[in-house]
Symmetry: D2
Subunit: 152 residues, 4 copies
């Protein structure tokens, strides 16, 4: 059972905008990047063939609070925690820490909720999370989630 994962990325030039910052939309791509790595860490893919059919994880909610600027070549750690687990959906909390700062500083916090779906005849349908996946994922302990919220 797993409830968290971390990756480190270095900001690409193409991810910046003319203000010299990482474009705010890219934080959502970073979130998905660690989500993908989290799934891989428990032996699955975000596009998983389950028992019957492939399941996917379209998002129903996404949000991000930006605290400090993140710039070209900054090293950013993206920390995912499972914040909620329902029969057909998973929610994650994210913390973005700039590592090339002393001490490392939180630059943003985010959240995603993804629903488990199958595709049939071009239509998506929400389904229960396959047991083989669900069995490997647990919600982060409340104390861990709380500590994360207080971290600066």
């Amino acid at each position: 059972m797993s409830y968290q994962f971390k990756i480190v990325r270095r900001v690409d030039f193409a991810e910046t905008d003319m203000a010299g910052l990482v474009h705010f939309s890219n934080f959502f791509r970073y979130m998905e990047s660690v989500e993908t790595a989290f799934f891989r860490s428990i032996g699955f893919s975000l596009v998983t063939r389950g028992v019957d059919a492939a399941v996917g994880w379209p998002r129903v909610h996404a949000e991000c609070d930006y605290k400090k600027p993140l710039r070209f070549e900054d090293e950013v750690e993206i920390h995912l925690l499972v914040s909620r687990k329902k029969s057909k959906a998973l929610s994650y909390a994210f913390v973005f820490r700039k590592l090339n700062a002393s001490p490392p500083a939180i630059v943003a916090r985010g959240a995603l909720t993804a629903v488990c779906v199958t595709h049939r005849n071009g239509k998506m349908k929400a389904v229960r999370i396959p047991k083989m996946i669900s069995d490997k994922i647990q919600v982060a302990p409340a104390a861990v989630l709380k500590r994360l919220q207080r971290e600066k």
Copy 2:
């Protein structure tokens, strides 16, 4: 005084992902796109030279709720409403309507909060919204915002 703006875009191929949907991060780019057009409609640019210095609008909060899929070549209307106006920040509410559906359907709702800043010596500093800009922007009437929230 202005409190809303609408643009229509057609979904580009590059904006889709392997699930056949508009990648969820692109809804944030769409929001910015109408915000830019809104500013242009009142005679300014998102990167505006004010009286003293250029002001920019980095985001401090962004969120989106996804209701229905949006796909390649769909026509989407993005509707911006000013939801809050503070001395140094503006908040917007967004509604995404798929026009090539009968009747047009809301596919997503979003929100952004942007802070007015100047750049000095490579540092950003929050500043009061220049009067010449502030004078042209007002918060949408409560009734209009409420109607938008109830719309399906």
Copy 3:
């Protein structure tokens, strides 16, 4: 029979990079954008259901020469010309003109070659361009292509 198409776009903030220019990779997205519009203008989609199966157009070659900077809010006309037509492939030439300059200036030239494919069992296979599509597309006259190359 059609051999050209033009669209006009205004540069989005998210398309710029920290150098203040449109990121060079976005010119390829602009090319695809007018290619999509060109297909739509002759009654098809880049993802077209043909007689037997859906055909797609993966790229086998892409290139771009950058002449002048393109920046936020610039108005850019992207002009597509069909430069070559083979049984399974189409080649296009592109000219990018910045309209908010006097006179309008060529900022870039590009080229794409796309192969017509079907997807079967997760594999792509090059196929002849469906007649219903091929019949509507012709190569631009040599004189037109030459004039474009000399234009400044």
Copy 4:
């Protein structure tokens, strides 16, 4: 003196398109990503403060030939070689190898030419490559470049 560099990336979900492939424009972002890492490997940044002023590297030419599909979660090695060095410009050749194939397969080849510029009063001007940078970069031996072209 250095003439090559390699990085390995795993394909992100957001980099795919509805055809299930890495969108062709993203290969150009991958090229820039290894170029950035190459510069870092010799002690500089793509946005380098030189003796007098910051130099940047806008592209004047970019191209890519696509051989095989690259998909979500594929591991791709991007191999940069310096193919040409002029007083104000550098050219690179790129090979993209899919590592999770046996044997690893070339999926694409690319090329970039970047010009060294300074920014003054909002204008870019081509300048000689600063000696401190130029001294650390050499063109790849002809035999190495040739071997790369023959590789399958």
